[in-house]
């Protein structure tokens, strides 16, 4: 899974958001390292939606009251949630292995 996709899923795990809000959330989550520009943002959203990880909210009742009707809101599907958890576990395992390998060297090398 690409970093960009992972961050989007993570952002949507907290709340249902529209495109621009997702971009903002991603920027916060990545501490400014990942910034999504319009085309790549919507391109990625499109492909995530197609693979069933997120879906568009179509019921206006779920929309936050102050947002306009023109914006598309997205939410994490159950599949998407599972994918997010699996990916997180994978990354964690990877980091764990990497840490254990890097430790002795980090101590010994000046």
């Amino acid at each position: 899974m690409k970093t960009r996709e992972y961050l989007i899923l993570l952002a949507l795990a907290e709340a249902d958001l529209h495109g621009q809000a997702i971009a903002r959330a991603v920027q916060d989550l990545s501490e400014g390292r990942t910034r999504l520009w319009p085309v790549s943002l919507y391109g990625t959203l499109e492909s995530l939606e197609e693979s069933g990880l997120i879906e568009e909210l179509d019921d206006p009742r779920h929309r936050p009251a102050d947002e306009s009707e023109k914006k598309r809101f997205y939410r994490l599907t159950r599949v998407g949630h599972r994918a997010l958890v699996t990916e997180t576990d994978r990354l964690a395992a990877l980091v764990k292995v990497a840490r254990s390998r890097l430790k002795p060297q980090a101590g010994g090398v000046k």
């Binding site: 495109g19 621009q20 910034r35 520009w37 085309v39 790549s40 919507y42 391109g43 499109e46």
Partner: protein, 888 residues
Amino acid sequence: MKAYRLLLRLVPRRLREKHGAEMEAMFRAELAAARERGALAAAAVWLHAIADVCGAIPRNVLDQWRRRGRVGIPRERRSIMFGSDIRYAWRSLTHQRFGSLLVIGMLALGIGSTVAVFSLVNGLFLRPFPFPEPERLVYVNETAPKWDLEMTGINYQDYATWRRDQKVFEAIALYSPRAFNVATDEGADRTTGASVTMDFIKVLGLQPVIGRNFTQEEDAPNGPLVAMIGEAVWHERFGGRADVLGKELKLNSRVHTIIGVLPKAAEFPGSVRLWVPLQGDPNVHASNYSYDGLARLKPGVTLEQANADLVRTQQAIYDDRDKERVVTPFARDLRAHLTRDFGTVASTLGAAVSLLLVVACANVAALMLARALARRREMGIRLAVGASRTRLLRQLLVENVMLSIAGGAAGLAIGQWAISALVASLPDQAPAWTTFTLDGRMIAFTIGTSVGTAILFGWAPALHAMNNDVRGAIATATASSTAPVRGRRTLWALVVAEFALASLMFVCGGLLVRAYDRVRNTDPGFDASNVLTFTIAVPGVKTPDDASGAAFRKRVVDRMRQIAGVTEVGMVSCAPVSNCHWGNFYTAEHAAPKGPNDADPVILNRVASPEYFTAMGIRLKEGRFFNSSDGIGGPDQDSTIIVNESFVQTMWPGAESAVGKRLYRGSRPPRDGPIRWLTVVGVTKDLKHYGLERPVRPGVYLPAPLMPRAVNTVVLKTSGDPTLVANAARAALREVDPEIPAYDMRTMDERLTRSRSLRAAYSWMLGVFAVMALVLALGGSYGVTSYLVSQRTRELGIRVALGARSRDISSAVLKGSLAVVLIGVAIGIAGAIGAGRLLSSLLFGVPPYDALILSIAAVTLAATGVMANWLPARRAARVDPMISLRAD
């Protein structure tokens, strides 16, 4: 903002239409925020936006391309449609059960025979040797045109010179098949093995499983007696235990120490079970050419370079003792060497089987085309109500693939069965290193053939049938009239092709069967009926000199005489068609000294007891056979000799009688001592010593007392079935000496049969292929004519209604179809005369335009054509106009 909107034009439309407004809004917000920080930040936002758009383009193009295949139909529907394709195909195939089975059967025959032949080709030519980097292995030998020998065998001193001076091989080694008497608790076993030089397994690139290879000291003259055993012997005799190393093994009555175990792959070139060091002496020149050579090229060295280097190193030998440059070393590709007898056979079978497959496919194509034409109406209606052409084609494709997979599976089974039958019929003609089993290559081959057949021969006709416009298809099909001209013409073309190929194969198969018959009826030059032969292995330590050797053999012969049913017992050094050869040179008295360019052919040398000639039924041309006084003085006295007709022609061309003429062994008189003259006392008829198809070499027989220990093959002439005395002969030999086994026990009839089993196998196969092609052509022609008749029902009905008699109708149908058949047969026979020329090396003198075969082929094929069309023609004649005109 307008600028950004323009930029977004680059984004794929789908994305833009859906999200364009939001993208703009987002960009606007970004830009507004940046402007507050200054113009530079705003410029950066613009740059990012451009990069963003450009980055999206390739990704989206890729995406869209990926998506193209599945545009339109949602995934679930697609799988449902595929399932329904299969279901529908199944229904339509089972509905026409006979037609489907016919197609499957034809494909199975075609594919099955292709699989059988391909696994032969695969085993012989494609399957890699079980050694690392086998492409670097070469076979080495020497050639001597002057001696009329393509391969002389390698002389040890020559080998030692090459090994010392050569620069192109990683390693070079000699091997020589040898048989051993291996002592057992009960007596002795005969086991095949080999003497090899120490580099042998290094050349093959192998390592001992346990233990070690021979050392330099062990591979030197009078070195210690050691042996390596194969894994088979290790498991059978020693239970595969590791403590086998250092154990003793009595080979030829001498104790050898086991120093290593070699893996199965080392059993080269086949059925070698143990190895001893060759122990040659490079300093002694013996004029003995007998070894085979094997070498591993250094990486990047070509065969030409290797040959040039071998000849360069041979220069030392030329300077030293072979000033006339009689013997030249050569290296050749190992596989080419091992398969040299099979090349023509394999390509002939391959060609035959490809033709058969083409005939089968033509048949399938004809049937499928006929079916597709008959279904024009269904297809037309489906097109008219809105089915897409792709959809219909996919439907047909699924049907064809199902048919061909069934045909392929059945073909694989047939092929496997055929290949095992074939291998069983070739006891020792197939090289020992080949295996003919199923492997990935074979499966890929079968799948490729069947699916390829389906697409090429099933789909194309379908397409052809569907290409007519919709309205025409429905209209004509509804009227149930004649098939469209184009479809009919294709059908006829297929029938012509079938008959052409079938008659081509029939002629070629017939020629080979006739050639086989001719070989079978060749006079071998001896009487093979009721003769049993076997060889005894007498170790040197048992009979250290000629006197004891002669005495031992006399005891054996005397004991054999007492067996009931044995009428004559002879002994010889080398029986006919037993794959043995011992060459020597002879010089006639008063012959002009041989110049450097004169031929000096090698003479086949045999040593025989007086009774051998009558036991083997050899015929005399003039003079007499040996009697008990011939050669009685031993090798140091003048003696007598019997020669064959070819020898007389070579030595004394044009002489009226050879009896009484004198000659001596060797190319020149002995340097020390007087010449021992040999006087010709008899001339025998030529005898096919090397097999029925091989040329006869000039040959001689020396009386047994000259070399009693060379005479090891016992020949028993019996009054009844010779196999009945086999056990008695073994028992008799055990009585004389329990440690000496009898081996290679066979009747002469059996030897003759084995010598032609390869020819029998491929002639038989080609004959079967020819008959199969004939049957396929019969079926194909029948199917096509029946289809065309059924399509012509209306026309024929009108004719009958207008007064045509049934005979007119049937002859009209028959004439049309027979013309097509005859065109095919004519083309095929013309082609066969050309193809026969290519076969001439296999034809054993049968001319490729053999009138008998050609006329049989023409008559058979024409008769087949009549048979195929007779039934449909009769059916056509019985058309009832009242029914046929009302059919629709």
